[in-house]
């Protein structure tokens, strides 16, 4: 037993040839966020507070796909979503389709705490944000040049590649974008457990690059991208559609509960078996202070620390 924390900045086809400047800035952010999380846990902040504040940091960093730095929809706009869950009470909050809210994760917490609902989307969520006086800015604040480029590349890739194996309309974007280095990255997240075994999970994202306007991914769907109960807390990242079908976050907990698996075993099985290769990564902690960070993609930006002194920051397989 003891506290533990893990966080991620997205799983995907992160090339080993990632230029040092891009690698180092992200590693520095992960290190910074990990430290913030550890400091908060050691000063006995609740896991719910910890995951929220870590995800806020990740959202504010323009190098990850959440908040500022979110990838763009096919219309060149930003639509952000987030979700938070408290393991002990199983209360949760989720938001989708945000365009002006600086910290989507904080709005999802307000949904959880200030409404009788769990999930608010789009105009309704934006209106609620204004009612609550949470920080909002002009939509252009979230857009980075990097993401404008990514969108352009994604659109070009779609035009060039013809996929005749899937039954989709010609004018609808396909799911399988050409692996384009870090275009595939989705989501940031954090899970934490305190020394009493209280768990929490939080996830936030701009979604899929070149997504259809109005597309919702796994992040705000309880049991898909985010989940916490009295056994574990999970935050997933990767191809949203695959994570939804695989009910990834819930399944990790379900395997522990119904098959008596350990955190590691459960997470490894879900990532290895329930979701196709190249589609998912997750971070998870258990009530007893264990951590696991499996992924079946090329890499996953991640970091973790436990009370017994172990800590790790990594991108690819060790």
């Amino acid at each position: 037993m003891g506290w533990a924390i893990a966080l991620h900045g997205g799983a995907g086809d992160i090339p080993h040839s990632l230029p040092p400047e891009r690698r180092l800035t992200r590693e520095a952010c992960l290190r910074h966020c990990l430290q913030i999380g550890v400091d908060a846990l050691t000063s006995r902040k609740s896991p719910l507070d910890v995951v929220e504040l870590v995800v806020r940091e990740l959202e504010n960093n323009p190098h990850f796909n959440a908040g500022r730095g979110s990838v763009l929809t096919t219309s060149g706009t930003v639509e952000m979503e987030a979700c938070i869950m408290d393991g002990k009470s199983m209360r949760c909050g989720a938001v989708s389709g945000l365009t002006t809210v600086v910290n989507a994760i904080s709005l999802s917490r307000l949904v959880m705490e200030k409404t009788p609902h769990i999930y608010l989307g789009f105009k309704g969520a934006e209106a609620f944000a204004r009612e609550q006086g949470i920080e909002t800015v002009d939509a252009s604040h979230f857009i980075t040049q990097e993401n404008v480029e990514r969108l352009k590349q994604a659109k070009e890739a779609n035009r060039v590649q013809v996929d005749y194996t899937q039954p989709v309309e010609k004018d609808v974007k396909r799911d399988e974008l050409k692996p384009d280095g870090d275009s595939q990255i989705g989501t940031v997240g954090c899970v934490a457990v305190d020394s009493e075994g209280n768990l929490a999970a939080a996830t936030s994202t701009g979604g899929l690059v070149n997504k259809m306007v109005g597309r919702i991914g796994d992040t705000p769907i309880i049991g898909a991208g985010t989940y916490a109960n009295s056994l574990c807390a999970v935050s997933a990242t990767g191809k949203g559609e695959a994570i939804i079908r695989g009910t990834v976050a819930r399944d990790v907990a379900a395997l522990m509960e119904f098959k008596g698996m350990s955190l590691q075993e459960a997470a490894a099985l879900v990532v290895g078996d329930r979701v196709p290769k190249g589609h998912v990564g997750l971070v998870a902690v258990s009530a007893t202070g264990e951590v696991t960070m499996p992924f079946n993609t090329t890499g996953m930006f991640r970091a973790c620390a436990t009370e017994d002194g172990h800590s790790e920051i990594a991108i690819w397989d060790s």
């Binding site: 609902h117 306007v213 109005g214 049991g223 989940y227 939804i244």
Partner: protein
């Protein structure tokens, strides 16, 4: 354990115990009609995906049930609809939220599953997709019924009606006064305190506007393929933009190669319990049978006091149902000739 087809449909759990006999009769007739439509479709070898879609379309078009036409209203008096569908064989899924003009949300959910690269579209993006796909669009007015307008008013009033129990010590008089908001209560209490009255606890009434949420259908076809679909207008007087369990895969709807599940009831509780996924998960991971699984999750996984209902079919051709609310509009049929439409009393053996 023979195989064979099976179908179950529901029109929502949590029924007004004062519902008129006439209304009950009407509901049963409609449910029977849609059940028979589903059965005919299965018998003519339509795959499970097609059958759940066509049955839910019927329920959506029926103003008697809370989906499509007859949907519950948001706090603004408008309709915002959600739906989802899942194909158990390949675990593909499609979901939509916040629809205001799409006549049959479940059909748009199916198009999301089959004609888009995504699994879930919402609000104006979903409506735009609907336009591109050429699905039938109508005015928001089409979905609104007078009855639901009345129910909305009731729900909005109920949130603010409070009953305060006053007790004058001398002479010894008790009475109740109804207030429509807290300010009036405080003002009255201040005045009465000044003249020597004493008070007992106020008893806030939060009116329980009985409105069964959601419609759904689950099918296992003659080839053992499972599918599930659910559709709803959501919670009466909900905040605009509120999304419940219905479009969330794993909560309101789930299907895999073992079973198809559709849930109804208190959306927030169903989400926390990931109810539909949990039915399948306990079958898969604990080896429970279909009805055992339904009973287990209802008993063990729902918040205390939360009401929900579940229908499910298994690839073995079984049907199962469970609910802890007062009643659930439902119907079942299996290949061996069993057929039932019911409103009250759980179908426990």
């Amino acid at each position: 354990m023979g195989r064979g087809w099976a179908i179950a449909l529901h029109g929502g759990a949590g029924i007004d115990p004062n519902i008129t006999l006439h209304r009950q009769q009407e509901a049963k007739e409609h449910l029977s009609r849609y059940l028979n439509l589903g059965v005919s479709a299965i018998r003519s070898s339509l795959p499970a995906n097609d059958v759940v879609e066509l049955v839910v379309r019927e329920l959506e078009s029926d103003p008697l049930f809370n989906s499509g036409k007859g949907s519950a209203l948001t706090e603004k008096g408008t309709v915002e609809m959600d739906a989802s569908i899942m194909d158990g064989t390949r675990r593909r899924c499609g979901a939509v939220s916040g629809l205001m003009r799409v006549k049959n949300p479940v059909s748009l959910a199916r198009l999301v599953m089959e004609k888009s690269p995504h699994s879930y579209l919402a609000f104006s993006g979903a409506e735009e997709f609907a336009r591109q796909q050429g699905v039938e669009l109508v005015d928001n007015e089409y979905f609104i019924t007078d009855e639901n307008r009345k129910m909305l008013k009731l729900a909005q009033d109920a949130n603010t009606i409070m009953v305060v129990h006053f007790h004058l010590i001398f002479p010894n008089i008790h009475f109740l006064l109804f207030f429509i908001n807290l300010n009036f209560v405080h003002a009255t209490m201040i005045v009465l305190l000044k003249i020597g009255w004493q008070f007992d606890n106020s008893i806030p009434i939060t009116g329980h506007a009985y409105l069964p949420e959601t419609v759904g259908c689950v099918v296992v076809d003659g080839q053992g393929r499972c599918a599930a679909a659910t559709s709803t207008g959501g919670l009466m007087n909900k905040m605009s933009g509120r999304i419940g369990d219905t479009p969330l895969i794993g909560s309101g709807t789930y299907a895999c190669n073992l079973c198809g599940v559709s849930c109804t009831g208190e959306g927030e509780a169903i989400i926390r319990a990931t109810l539909a996924r949990d039915v399948a998960a306990v079958m898969e991971y604990k080896g429970l049978g279909l009805q055992e699984a339904v009973d287990f999750v209802l008993k063990e996984k729902l918040d205390d006091g939360a009401e929900a209902g579940i229908i499910a079919v298994s690839r073995e051709g079984e049907v199962a149902c469970g609910f802890n609310s007062i009643g659930m509009f439902r119907g079942f049929a299996t290949e061996d000739g069993f057929m039932e439409v019911a409103i009250w009393d759980s179908m426990k053996q």
